[in-house]
């Protein structure tokens, strides 16, 4: 088969090597010089090295001979250095990698041409390996998109030879700058400087020359660089392009490497993914030697899910560095835990495996901090989900919150706090005819839970426009003959829902009184916590979103006015833990943004709320959630760290490890964790 590869980067050259070994005719055309490259070193993981060893041993040997290897990550934060070990990385100078690949490709008989534009390529297979800005890709419809992702960044080299992957966080009058740096040979390290566009503009970097901007960075990181110097290689400030393609081949033209996909540099996987693409494509062609189309489908099916996972992680990592300035209040060890677990690819358990010493200190620090004591040298502690939480004058015995029909059973199953389901303030605030109300019947339930040592909270709300629905067979299906509904504005929840009445001041006074009366009954019943429901489109939430509050009166101008008056009135009679279940974003066009949600959380905390239970969506029935494991965690993280208020988060957390990771990294203080029964439990004893 005749194969034309456009682009002489790592993916194109490596593919040429692999295809020559199976006897194909391979031509590589590269527009630039053989040693032209942007950037400095590239990183590989152990896993990638294994794949390279199996695919072509000679290049593997040569690559590993000139590798810089290290196992530590240094985090320079608040003039301290936190070192985490057990992470295996290796890196190589990019030009050296290209040289190795070029020599090997030539030795195997591939034809390499440089300084040549790929004008009319042909062949049985045409490979677009010409990078994120692929010219060949533009000639066909691959469903391509390329959008800027994350912060502004600039890629320098330095003659400071590091012995660890190094993050530096430097606060300036303009804002925070961070460095991602790692060694790649015996003389040089990569030194990437990154900052938000806002800070970048404030520092005047948008108008600075290349020399001035390098001088700026040189002086900014003088404490770390010392007498060493930064080096430029076309080092200008860039936006990272997030490249995606809905399909990766068109006829006999196939995309590999950055032409097919990119992954933000902060997870260091671009070259790894590119070379793995080459391996997968070569394998697919070997599997279907006489059917190129089949092979290309096979390649795509193999690689797309892998790449999607990396792009998800890379997106999370890029977003983390965009908001990292908000974490500067975290204690150094927690800041480090948050940083190391930013992309979701490393959890508390993974860290425990890689660096048990780090995790011992993290867990011990967490327990000491939770108890308000000093960290004793050599201390050991259970993982974070088992650390007590002191909050609002009470102590929750651990970080697990459950909400199950049988609360005493949930408490016996290990929860620190159990929450009732939705309890209505009064009859007219019920969701369904079966919805419990805050009457005098709750004391026995409270006693049963207290007997287990857990705390119990009542989730108290008024259903608003989501009231008077059928109790079974779905949610929000209206009763044929329901009771009158109330909301901020007269808008039905679904097209088939009843239209609520716009609340009058008299309605507000009555509902507020109902909340107070219910709180007093909850207090009399012995509840430890009271969770006011300001979420999911229920009555109080309807005031907080522009989608549901269309009022022309003062409550339109001040959406928090009525909800806060309820919080104040309840706080006055409720001495225990006060929780607000709060929608922090509507996940709907024109709805509440996360920033507004954080403002609301801050306001609630200012009015005596001890804990925010972070919710999102359901303000309207046309909400667009992005479901996945832990889909509310980032929102909780932002509320906790930007509003400075303790949080409770659910969002489909399914394992103790997920809970430990969320809690240890300071993304929430409590987690809703309701594992379903497992058949193993029946045979476990």
């Amino acid at each position: 088969m005749r194969v034309s590869v456009v682009g002489g980067g790592p993916s194109g050259l490596y593919l040429a090597i692999l295809l020559r070994k199976t006897g194909h005719d391979v031509t590589v055309v590269e527009r630039n010089a053989p040693d032209a490259t942007f950037g400095w070193g590239v990183v590989f993981s152990e896993e990638t090295l294994g794949a390279l060893r199996d695919a072509d041993y000679p290049t593997y040997l040569e690559i590993t001979d000139s590798f810089a290897r290290w196992t530590s990550i240094d985090i320079r934060y608040r003039d301290r250095v936190l070192r985490s070990s057990g992470h295996t990385f290796s890196a190589i100078r990019r030009t050296h990698l290209l040289d190795i690949l070029q020599r090997r490709a030539r030795a195997l008989g591939a034809s390499l041409t440089f300084h040549q534009e790929a004008s009319d390529v042909d062949g049985d297979l045409v490979v677009a390996a010409d990078g994120a800005n692929s010219g060949l890709r533009k000639r066909f419809d691959f469903g391509s998109s390329s959008t800027p992702q994350g912060c502004k960044y600039v890629w320098f080299g330095t003659d400071l030879v590091l012995d660890a992957f190094t993050f530096v966080f430097r606060e300036t009058e303009h804002g925070l700058f961070q460095v991602h740096a790692y060694p790649f040979d015996e003389h040089t390290s990569t030194w990437i400087v990154e900052t938000t566009e806002q800070t970048w503009r404030r520092a005047g970097l948008d108008t600075m020359s290349e020399e001035d901007s390098m001088a700026f960075c040189q002086s900014l990181f003088a404490p770390e660089l010392g007498e060493h110097r930064l080096m430029s290689n076309k080092s200008v400030w860039l936006d990272f392009p997030l490249v995606r393609n809905t399909h990766w081949h068109h006829g006999n033209v196939v995309l590999i490497g950055d032409a097919a996909h990119t992954a933000h540099f902060s997870i260091g996987s671009g070259t790894k993914l590119a070379m793995e693409d080459a391996i997968a494509l070569a394998n697919a062609l070997e599997r279907y030697p006489s059917a190129v189309e089949h092979a290309l489908v096979d390649y795509e099916l193999e690689r797309q899910p892998v790449v999607e996972r990396f792009q998800q992680a890379a997106g999370d990592s890029a977003a983390y560095f965009g908001r990292v300035a908000g974490y500067l209040g975290l204690a150094p060890i927690q800041f480090a835990a948050n940083l190391l677990t930013r992309s979701g690819r490393i959890s508390h358990a993974n860290l425990m495996q890689r660096d048990p010493r780090f995790v011992r200190v993290l867990d011990a620090w967490f327990a000491a901090s939770a108890a308000g004591t000093a960290l004793a040298p050599g201390a050991v502690a259970p993982p974070p989900m088992f650390a007590p939480l002191r909050l609002g004058g009470t102590t929750v015995r651990n970080r697990v919150v459950r909400s199950a029909p049988d609360l005493a059973e949930a408490a016996r199953a290990g929860a620190g706090l159990v929450l009732t389901g939705f309890v209505a303030t009064a009859q007219d605030g019920r969701t369904t005819p079966d919805c419990p109300v805050a009457d005098d019947s709750w004391a026995p339930v409270v006693k049963d839970v207290h007997d287990t040592g857990a705390l119990i909270g009542m989730r108290l709300g008024h259903a608003g426009r989501r009231g008077a629905t059928r109790p079974t067979g779905g949610v929000d299906v209206p009763l044929t003959d329901g009771w009158p509904l109330l909301s901020a504005s007269p808008l039905p929840y679904t097209p088939s829902s009843a239209v609520p009445a716009e609340m009058t001041e008299a309605d507000m006074a009555r509902v507020r009184d109902d909340f107070v009366a219910a709180a007093e009954r909850a207090r009399a019943a012995g509840f430890d916590a009271l969770e006011l429901d300001l979420a999911d489109g229920y009555l109080l939430a309807s005031f907080l979103s522009p989608l549901t509050n269309r009022r022309a009166d003062v409550h339109g101008a001040e959406p928090l006015r009525f909800p806060l008056s309820v919080v104040d009135a309840v706080r006055a009679v409720w001495p225990g833990l006060l929780v607000a279940r709060l929608t922090v974003t509507d996940w709907a066009p024109g709805g509440l943004s996360v920033d507004q949600g954080i403002t609301h959380a801050r306001a609630l905390a200012g009015h005596g709320v001890d804990l925010v239970h972070v919710r999102a969506g359901h303000t309207t029935a046309t909400t667009r959630p992005e479901y996945r494991r832990g889909y509310l965690t980032t929102l909780s993280d932002r509320v906790r760290n930007e509003a400075g208020v303790p949080t409770l988060v659910g969002g489909y957390l399914t394992t103790p490890d997920e809970v430990n990771t969320v809690i240890a990294a300071g993304r929430a203080d409590l987690c809703l964790f309701d594992p379903p029964p497992n058949p193993l439990e029946e045979v476990a004893t």
Binding site: V297, T494, P495, H618, R624, P625, Y652, P676
Partner: protein, 277 residues
């Protein structure tokens, strides 16, 4: 340990299918190891209407479940949809499951005079009707029908969790099903539904004439462009591939897996029965 039930598709969307073959297919499936007979839905195609196909199947079967997996809800008025569903359920003595989705083809909408742009909202309104007003509509026979909803977006999963008893996945390798199943469970928890959603999966098979099966898939899914090739690449063409697929789905917590033929061959049906028993 979860045990996935395995159903088989009726070849109602394979062009040229005869009534005789369809009915014989249903008879053999009923006598075989399958839990359910599933049907697909397509308007602008040489295919048999799903409720008509299931009515025919109901007449010659006594045990096997019958399911639309899925029917394109918005092509039909809510009342007619309910009438069809309740009729098939009554004809089969309560063996029917109604799976609904928005489908993926604009020409089906154009032909039916339904608005493609509003398909999500229309499906939601239909589901609200099926769960609510239908009870007082006088449209009989009055029977509770199990409801599944398909779709992969967050909005679709929220719709599923709001109104349905379970989720109908659109097909793919077990790993893709597992990821969708997790999102369906997350939606279920998000809407505070008790327990877990029923999870239905699907796959395609061809044993004898694999090329013909693949050609059918490429034609049936031609409107998806290059994606059709990936669907065809997932066609299960050996007993071992089928068993691996079933085990994969079982491991991901699938409750019911429907395997659809891509060639209307009774021989393939027999081989599938052998592969899954």
């Amino acid at each position: 340990v979860s045990h996935v039930k395995v159903g088989v598709g009726l070849p109602n969307t394979i062009p040229g299918i005869s009534g005789e073959l369809l009915v014989e297919w249903a008879r053999r499936a009923d006598a075989g190891p399958f839990s359910t007979l599933g049907v697909l839905d397509r308007l602008v195609y040489d295919s048999i209407e799903p409720f008509a196909a299931l009515s025919a199947a109901a007449a010659v079967t006594s045990r096997i479940g019958l399911a639309t997996n899925i029917a394109i809800g918005p092509l039909r008025s809510p009342a007619m949809l309910a009438k069809h569903a309740r009729s098939v359920d009554a004809l089969s003595g309560g063996r029917f499951t109604l799976g609904l989705g928005v489908g993926a083809r604009k020409d089906d909408y154009a032909a039916a005079g339904a608005e493609h742009r509003k398909r999500g909202a229309t499906l939601s309104a239909q589901l609200a009707y099926l769960r609510g007003q239908l009870d007082e509509s006088g449209i009989g026979p009055a029977r509770p029908v199990e409801l599944l909803v398909g779709g992969s977006s967050g909005a679709a999963l929220a719709r599923m969790a709001r109104y349905a008893d379970g989720y109908a996945h659109g097909g793919g390798p077990p790993r893709a099903f597992g990821s969708a199943a997790n999102r369906a469970r997350a939606a279920w928890q998000d809407l505070e539904r008790p327990g877990e959603p029923k999870l239905w999966g699907q796959g395609y098979v061809a044993f004898g004439d694999v090329d013909r099966g693949n050609a059918y898939l490429l034609d049936y899914y031609a409107f998806t462009g290059p994606f059709a090739e990936k669907i065809a690449a997932g066609n299960l063409t050996s007993a071992r591939a089928v068993r691996d697929f079933v085990r994969g789905y079982e491991a991901e917590g699938c409750d019911e897996l429907i395997l659809y033929p891509t060639v209307a061959s009774l021989d393939d049906l027999d081989r599938l029965a052998e592969a899954v028993s």
